[in-house]
Symmetry: C2
């Protein structure tokens, strides 16, 4: 069953285009992570936060990615890393046009 992984952490930049320049190689590498279907990259200069919303093909792959990614973020000096793995309620999501194929 597909799982949604929600991650955020304290972040003081770079944001926007500079974030893109700094992290495009990392983004490309994420396509090679087992079970990744997609990632939405989130950022807030106002709140000094960044993170991601991920869809994985199953729970084991979501858990493995979260463990690896948390360690990587910690190694980058980032803190207050919060990761949560959720089921998607597909019936309710379909009512609201959520972009997740069955």
């Amino acid at each position: 069953m597909k799982k949604l992984l929600q991650v955020d952490f304290d972040f003081n930049g770079p944001f926007a285009d500079e974030m893109t320049d700094a992290l495009s190689e990392l983004a490309a590498s994420i396509n090679n992570e087992p079970g990744l279907i997609w990632k939405i990259w989130t950022e807030s200069e106002t709140s000094q936060l960044a993170g991601g919303i991920y869809l994985f093909d199953n729970e084991a792959n979501a858990k493995a990615y979260l463990a690896m990614h948390s360690a990587r973020l910690t190694a980058m000096g980032l803190s207050n890393i919060r990761g949560r793995i959720f089921d998607v309620n597909m019936a309710l999501t379909s009512i609201n046009q959520g972009p997740i194929a069955k």
Copy 2:
């Protein structure tokens, strides 16, 4: 500019099909909220959490929805409500097939 709203809160059910039955009318009403593009409904019986990932057309609509929804959840007796509004880094999201049209 589109904004992503991430919400979660403590939740002890109903989950899965029973959640669908309980909340389908609420889901239908959410389609009428100003600026809503989509919502992904999240739930975790394991973690005793539920929430949603929303895409809105702009920040004012995301903020207004978060204020209204937080009050509604509180009135339903739910607690530890956490809402965060993010920009989407479109370039990085495109690299990872994130389902957000430009």
